[in-house]
Amino acid sequence: MIHSVIAAATEWVSPQVDYHALAPEIILATGLCVVLLADLFLDESRKWIISSLTGFTLLGAMLPVLTLGLSESSVRSMFDGRYVVDEFSVVMKAMFLIAGYVVVLLSTKHVEEDEYWQGEYWFLLLSSILGMVMMTSSRDLVSIFVALEFLSIPAYMLAAWRKRDIKSNEAGMKYFLLGVFASAVMLYGMSLLFGAANSTLLVDLGKSITATGGLSALHALGIVFVIVGFAFKVSAVPFHSWAPDTYEGAPSPITAFLSVASKAAGFVALVTLLFVAFPQASGVWQPFMWVLSVLTMTVGNVVALRQTNIVRMMAYSSISQGGFVLMPLAVAGMSEVSASALRSVVVYMLVYAATNLGMFAVIIAVSRKTRSGEISSWGGLFSYAPGLATLATIFLASLAGIPPLGGWIGKFTAFQSLLSSGSGWGYALALIGAVNSVVAFGYYGTIMREMWMKPVPDGDTTRVVVPGSLALALGITCVATLVFGVLPGVATHFGDIARITGAFGG
């Protein structure tokens, strides 16, 4: 039978390529080559050029994304459906690029002032972003896998960026080992799925489930393992254990990057899989998602309550936020809910990205003065840096989901789609979510309290210097947070148009 394989392989037709659709990826790819080369030819004094190069690359990549968004032919499918550029992917691409840009802004000064080589940093960042951008369009196990590794491997290295810092090493190592392990498990699942469906195309996976008349154990096993792989990426409890350590050890901009972008990428993949590949298997993943989301937000919250290191607290907070994103997926199997579920995931990720990046921007800015990650070091921030304190308050309140700041619309849409299911499970989850959102204020509140109501710990009230890039980042995120909150129509609009082709066979 080997010859049959050969035979199958021989009928080769070169696929037609839609360069407009691929433009963002292409620009990024060239960009990162340029960055790599520039690093070789620029001397230390002009390294700053590289960072701006990176920034421009990302902005450049935005242009085709915009044109794609505006072009009327909404869905562009390539390589017989293995790589699709649809509204969903366009919205997500845009988000990744902007998030990436903000991360660049966060990094500039930070990396310059560090004693490590810059060039690679930008290169790695770009390639990781490229991986994410690819992830949004992947509709095939192979491309998903490749994109996943493409975004993960540079992230491993970025986490370990501060070479001589033990913590950073440890962060990188843990992240790496567990990441690889997770993807290995995921791959095993993929192999099983391939075996069951005899195709790597997501749509075919879905078809195969119906074709074989219901789920085989092979399917179930495969699905679970694959989901595990991405549950790891979104650091859902109990696959979260790497996140706190890595976040704490990694350089702050990277932590921001991981907690926002790579998490989002995980969700993108998860959503694509659930909606395109396994809609019929909702029996398998709905309960799984339910448990995951409950565990994730609860554990994330309650453990966050007892943190003293702000970055670590933000790590747990971002874990529990992930739980909220997962909420609607627990009922997304029902056809009448699926649309709103997808929407709420997208909306939540948009809002969360803006808010969390903003919070990390503040953290970076403040740590430039306090040189410490302890929450207690934030004491009396309001008295000597009212601007930063106010911004921090805005972001925290948004994370806590207090209107009229972005966060509430995310939570709101999540609740909405849960309740629209009308199922007992949905209501139960909504209630748990409601309680959790209150608990969450417990630790967001402690930071606020520290800033507003506590004295300055060491009486040192030198004003915090905020470099221009950081200020810009703060501006962008703050504006986004407020706009999403006050005119939620904007966010929900993106959520609404972000439809995945082939989701639920539609």
Partner: protein, 99 residues
């Protein structure tokens, strides 16, 4: 049909790999165990491809091999880094941060 044996072998490899990852404390060994898993995966793919006469499996396997190489590269790099900084590659010592 001799596909199943391959699958069983793969499953066995997978389990050994998992056990290795969990039980070994030497970073390099853990890395190797992960490679084991990946190979189990490859085996699966090839076997399924063979059974279903579908070349995608082979392709996938090739991708995996390639990327696994990259991973190992990064991994060893990290191990080296850690060894430089603390003269050991035992994972137990990697517990600066916890809680």
């Amino acid at each position: 049909m001799l596909v199943n044996q391959f699958l069983f072998l793969a499953a066995l490899l997978f389990c050994i790999g998992v056990y290795g990852v969990i039980a070994r404390k030497n970073a390099v060994l853990v890395l190797m165990s992960i490679e084991l898993i990946l190979n189990a995966v490859n085996l699966n793919f090839v076997a399924f491809a063979l059974r279903n006469g579908n070349a995608d499996g082979h392709t996938f396997a090739l991708y995996i091999i390639a990327i696994a190489a990259a991973e190992v590269g990064v991994g060893l790099g990290l191990v080296l880094l850690i060894f430089r900084n603390r003269r050991t590659i035992s994972l137990d010592d990697l517990s600066e941060m916890k809680g």
